[in-house]
Each structure stands twice: as C-alpha cells, then as structure tokens.
Amino acid sequence: MLKKLMLALPVVAMMSGTAFAADTYPERSIRFIIGFGAGGNADTVARLLAEPMSKDLGQPVVVESKPGAGGNVASDFVSKSDPDGYTIQLMVGGHAVSAALYNSQPFDPLADFTFLSTIGQFPFFVAAQAGAYENIEDLIAKAKAAPGTIKIGHSGVGSTQNLTGELLDLETGADFIHVPYKGGAAAATALLGGEVDVVIDTGTIMTPQQDAGKFDILAVSSKERWPDKPDVPTLAETVAPGFDVVSWTGVGMPAGVDSAIADKVRASVHAAIADPDVAARIEKLGAKPSPMSGEEMRTMVEQQIETWKKVVESAGIEKR
C-alpha cells in the first residue's frame, strides 16, 4: 500500500505541477529555436516575433539558431526537448518537404510536435524574361512541344521551389530541365543573364525585377489569386487544375505540451501578428499574416507531406 502510494506520488506531483505551471507560465526565458543561419527569412521572422512576444508573455523570448540539414537539426532538438513550454520552434514549409525527402528522420514530423499556428503564408511565382512568353499557357505549350529544352532555375535541390517546379511537370505533363542554384537570388541572376528560361521563387525576389520591366510574372502557385498581384493568374485556373502550393512560417513545440501553455503561446503569436507594425513587415517579406488553430496547422502539414511524397517519387528525386 505504502509502496503504491509512493509510486503514485510523483504522478500526483507532476499533475499538480503542470496545472500550476500553466498558471504561472512563463517563469523564465523562452528559447525560440530556428533551424537556419542568421540572415535568412526564417531568422528575420523569428526576430520580428520575439520582441512583441517577450512583451506579451513578460519573459524574454530568445532567438537561438541551430542551423543544419535543412532545418532537421533544429527539429530534432526541439522534438527531444522537455515539453514544458520553454522551447518553441520557428517552423517553415521545409518541415513538410524534408519529411518527404529524407529516408529516415530522427523524429516524427507530425507526432513529435505540438503545432501552434502559422505566422505567414506565401506562394511562389513563375517568372520568365520580359516578353519571352505571352502567358503561362504559351510557356506550357512550348515546353510540351519541345520536351527537355526549357530550363527552370530553382533555389536548390529539395527546396520547396524545386518541388513546385517538379509538381508543375507532374500536373501539366510538360518536361522541364530543373537547374539548381544556391538560393533564389542566384537563380534570378541566372534568369537576368538568360542562362535559364524560367524561375520559380517568392515575390520578394520577383517583384523588383517585374517593376523594373526585366521579368514577366506568368503565374502564381496558390489556389486563389494572391492579393498583392490580382492580375497574375493562378496555375490552377490556367494550366494545372487543382494546383495549390503555399509555403509558410509557423510556430511549434515538442509534443506533449500542456494545452493551457500551448494556448497561451498561440494567443501571444496571434497577438503579435495582429500588431499592424509586425503585420506590415510580414507583408513586406512577401507573406500574408495567417493566424491558425493548432489543428488547422497540423492538417495543412499532413496534406503537404502527402503532396511532396508524391512529387519526390514521381520526379525521381533521390532521398537522403
């Protein structure tokens, strides 16, 4: 009897501990883990959020970079951290991509995480040199007429941009050559120099070149037209019905976080992106602020993993 009581003691202590923790959370600083090096989009978004969240939660939210292996180093770290609410992660669309791309990950991309909310969503744009193609239908028709001749530059093998291009092959039946560059800027430079015919990347890369009359933006990857560029048709309405690729940044935690704590952090994220100043900066980075529930985010990630698995397989991209 006593033995059983003794065994039950830590369980009771733990339960009361968590209930207590949710009330007083946070009592110390919170680590905000990013999986990418300084200076990238992820880093910027994390720093944008850290400040208002620190004010809101009353404890410093400290951005900590654990770069490597396309964000997998950070995801591994977070998935194995204590689910006490003091480790949160800046997730990106790559979370779903790497789940499809890696043979074995030391963590489960869905079960090992508590999903809080996306921060912003952004589509990819298909662009060509100004005047090269009349419209997206023209590009796809020419690509089909001469398979294996038209070159798409992208920001690296296994990037979401790369897979979006491969998905375009899959959905339209066209056969493009996919040429990897180191980052979207390098791919855009190659398009400026005429080395590739098409580039698929974000609005921040494309818009200045479009404004200067160097690029024509032919289509957008999202299901609906993007509010920034209402004149740009979607791939779905033109050449690839059902085409819907939107990448994102979001916030997650290890699995098993007390739901009261998760709600508190989610509310803080939502408050931060509702702030007009922060929202304006997210928009400048080419994204649309997108508060979500944890369930919605989880479903989205799950669907994207399915899509990318299909693409990786059909495009014959070797798994890592």
Partner: protein, 506 residues
C-alpha cells in the same frame, strides 16, 4: 556622375548619418579583429535595430560593418597569424613573418594604407562603372565560372614557397574536404558522418585551425623569443620611399583583381585576395622572397579584398541580386524598411543609392584615421608574454568559431585542424593551397555540373562562348607556363645538386 556623388556626400555628411557610418565601420573593425566572428553575425544581430532607422542610415550602418571588418581582419593575421576573416588568410603569409621580425607596426601601417587605396579604387569603380560592371557580370554563366575557378585552382599551386607538387597535393586535400556535406546537384550527402556535417565543414573553422591554432601549438612547443618594438615613432613604422614605390603597382593590380571578383555574384573578397597574391607571385622576379614578409605579397591581397568588399555592392545595388550572405542581409534590411532593391533603385531612390556609395568613401577615410593611432596599441599587445596571451586567444577562437554557426562540432573540428596544421607545418606542407582548394573545389564542381545540365553534356560550350574561351586560353597558358618553369627549375636544381650536392625539393 560627379553631381550625383556630391548629392550622396550631402546625405552622408549630415551629422546623424555620419554617426551611423562611424559606428558601423568602428564595429566592423572590432568584429574583424576578433577571430572567427564574422560580419554576418554582427549584421544579423543589428538588423532589428535598423527598424528604427531610415533605410539610408540602415544600409550605411550595416555596410560599414562589412567593409570595416575587412580592415580589422588583417590585424590579428599580422600580429598572431590568426586570420580575423577568411579573406585575410593570405595576409598571414607575409604579414606574420614581418611581425616576428619585430616589424609589426610597419606591417600594420602598410596594410592600412593598402586597404585604404584598394577601397578607394573599389569605390571609384562603383561610382563610375556600376552599371556596365553589373551588365558584364551577368554575362558570366556557369561555363565562365567553371573556367574562372579552374584558373584559380591552377593558381592555388602557385601560392607556396615550397614545391609545386606539395602545394598541388594540398589543394587536392582541400578539394576533398570541400566535398563534405550535401552535393549541390543532387542534394545527396557525402562524407556526412554526423548530422552536424550535413552542411559541410566551415571555412572559418578550417582557417582558424590551420593558421591560428597551429601557430599557437608551435609557439607553445618552442621557446624562441619574439622581437617587439614597444616605442614606435611614425618614422619607425612608415615605409621609406623605395618601399612606398614598390607598393604602388601591387596595390593597383590587387585592387583591379579585387574590383573584378567583387562585382561577380558568388565569388567575393576571400577569392579576390588569394588571386591577387597568386598573381603577384607569378609575375614577381623574386618569387623566393615570398613567405618571408615580402611587401608586394602583403599589400596586393589587402588592396584586393578591400576593393572587392566595395564592388560586391554592385550586383546588390544595381540589380537587386545579392552575391553573398552579407549582401542578402543588407537587402533584407532594405525590404523590411519598405524599399525593395532592384534595377530601379538608382532611379527611384537616388539619395539612398548615392548616399550609400558616398558613405563608402567617407567610411574608408574614417577607417584610415582610426587605424593609424591604433597601431601603437596593437603592437603593445605583443609585449605581453605569449604564455599569458594564448589561453585567451584559444578561448577567443572557440567563441568566434561557435558564433559563426552555433555548432559545437565546428569548435571540435577547429581543434582537430589545429593539430593537423601543426603536423603539416612540421613536414613543410603549406595550409594556404589547401584552403584555396577548399573554397574553389565545390564551386568548380557546382558550376561544371550546372554547365553540363544546362548544355546537355556538351563540352564545346567552354570554347564557343567568347568569355569562357578567353578564360580557357588564359588557364592553358598559365598551366603550360607553370609546368614549364617547374621543369626548368627542377633541372636547375638537379644540376646544382650534381655540382654541389645540396638538397633540393621537388
């Protein structure tokens, strides 16, 4: 052109803007001196601060950190054989021997002057030729980069004071090390023993280990006293007329090479300084003096990396395409401030465009002015007994390397490379060609495979495109010349050996 430059000056000379320029270059200088801590770390930490500044001040501040760090990088190279930035690795080769000879102050002044002149030439190129340079840079596709990098690798075997064969083998080791990580063409991992190696070996840990740390081990193992001059007068450290004259041409050549490499997206200051050094050695009538504190070998690469630091703003400012991570950050700062840099920047935001360029001019003057009085302070550092100094240096190296990618593996690797570097020195294998192979090998592979992908595996593309064909010709000539001169010197050495029985190296 002049009118616009004056418009820019009027922007920079506002007291507030001037203060940010000063703050930027000063911080850059400090960051540059600290081994391993790079401009990227400092710039990304300051990025949120720029939300509160206007876009022009933001870029002036961040840009100042970058080119300021190029000045600072040379200081630790000269004093302690510790490259503060990867682009100041070659500064170790000639600067450190001078310091060991008790001429640290002189070496510091020479690099400050060369850096200043190199930067000014770079600024002049930006002012006068930004747009034509950018247009020219766009003509460089994958085949051109492939050939350019191939020439660089041939040059790698030239930056050695010993034998070409040893240098060449070191370059091969460097290429092999450069292959660690994910393959750019397929994304497959190569030689990735742990997850921490998935992004490859860091250039910073390789450079810090092979140069800085191995030197510390060597010093700890020997009891050779160091020569220092504590009391310095300007006359002691100022180059005499003959020395000044011998600097003019190398600085000019270095700055030209730097301006070219800087303007190409994806190359940059580190490659520029290596190339300038290799070029000086190749054309020198007294190549045997290199590696022992030879002036042209010190000032050409310094002029080159500083010139490159300025012209690397060309693709960023005129095309809106960043050439490297630092430039991507600066573009990020502009975007967050509501300005999207692109080809229209020069038309839509002339005050920003010319203000930033004029700030380079002003910033470099500030750098020269703060550097000369500091020489005395730096040299005094050497009067501290070495056994007191090196624990602090080892700690600084570790912190610096860690700050770069927040990776403990990088720190461990730095220590390993330190030991490897010590062994290499004992057996007269030089680290510089290894480092250049490490930088250029992956670029060669990436661009070669991209060329093959783009042109369907057709090798003729290398000779049918005009710029590429020119580069092929230059590379072949350089190779033939190098092999030819190696054979000649080998024969000569054999002859000498037969007559005198002295040793020679292959």
């Amino acid at each position: 052109m002049i009118d616009q430059f004056i418009l820019g000056l009027s922007v920079v000379l506002q007291p507030e803007v001037l203060m940010y320029a000063f703050f930027g270059v000063f911080l850059g200088q400090v960051i540059g001196v600290l081994p391993g801590v790079g401009a990227i770390t400092a710039i990304s930490l300051l990025l949120p601060v720029t939300f509160y500044l206007d876009p022009t001040s933001s870029v002036i501040l961040l840009a100042g950190i970058y080119y300021g760090s190029q000045y600072g990088g040379a200081i630790a190279s000269i004093l302690l054989n510790l490259p503060g930035t990867p682009s100041s690795v070659v500064t170790c080769l000639e600067g450190y021997p001078l310091a060991r000879d008790g001429r640290a102050g002189f070496a510091l002044l020479v690099t400050a002057l060369s850096s200043f002149v190199g930067s000014m030439i770079g600024v002049a190129v930006v002012v006068m030729a930004a747009i034509p340079m950018a247009t020219f840079a766009l003509k460089f596709g994958a085949p051109e980069y492939t050939m350019l990098v191939a020439i660089g690798l041939v040059a790698a075997s030239l930056i050695s004071s010993g034998s070409h064969l040893r240098a060449f083998s070191m370059a091969l080791v460097g290429i092999a090390l450069g292959m660690v990580g994910s393959d750019a063409s397929t994304g497959q991992y190569r030689f990735v023993a742990t997850d921490a190696l998935a992004d490859g070996i860091s250039l910073v840990s390789l450079a810090m280990g092979l140069f800085g740390l191995s030197e510390i081990i060597r010093n700890a193992a020997s009891h050779e006293p160091r020569k220092t001059q504590i009391k310095l007068t300007l006359r002691d450290i100022f180059p005499n007329r003959a020395e000044l004259r011998s600097m003019v041409k190398p600085v000019g050549r270095g700055a030209t090479i730097g301006a070219f490499f800087g303007a190409l997206p994806g190359t940059g200051a580190a490659i520029a300084s290596f190339m300038a050094y290799a070029f000086e050695r190749r054309i020198s009538r007294t190549p045997e003096k290199f590696g022992k504190g030879h002036l042209p070998g010190l000032c050409a690469p310094e002029a080159s990396n500083n010139s490159a630091a300025q012209t690397s703003f060309i693709p960023t400012l005129t095309l809106g395409v960043p050439g490297d991570a630092v430039m991507a950050l600066i573009i990020g700062a502009l975007i967050l401030n509501g300005i999207v840099p692109g080809p229209r920047l020069i038309i839509d935001e002339p005050e920003l465009f010319w203000g930033v360029i004029a700030s380079f001019f002003v910033g470099n003057i500030i750098l020269l002015v703060i550097n000369i009085p500091l020489i005395g302070v730096w040299v005094r550092l050497l009067s501290i007994p070495y056994y007191r100094l090196y624990p602090a240096i080892v700690l600084l190296i570790c912190v610096g390397v860690y700050s770069h990618r927040s990776s403990i593996t990088d720190v461990v690797l730095t220590l390993v490379f330190g030991i490897v570097g010590y062994v290499m020195r004992r057996y007269r294998f030089e680290p510089a060609p290894l480092l250049l192979g490490f930088v250029l090998g992956p670029m060669l592979e990436e661009n070669f495979r991209r060329t093959m992908l783009l042109y369907g595996g057709d090798f003729s593309v290398f000779v049918t495109r005009p710029i590429s064909a020119t580069l092929v010709f230059c590379g072949a000539a350089l190779l033939a010349f190098t092999i030819g001169s190696a054979i000649v010197s080998h024969r000569k050495a054999l002859k000498d050996k037969n007559t005198q029985g002295g040793p020679y190296s292959v």
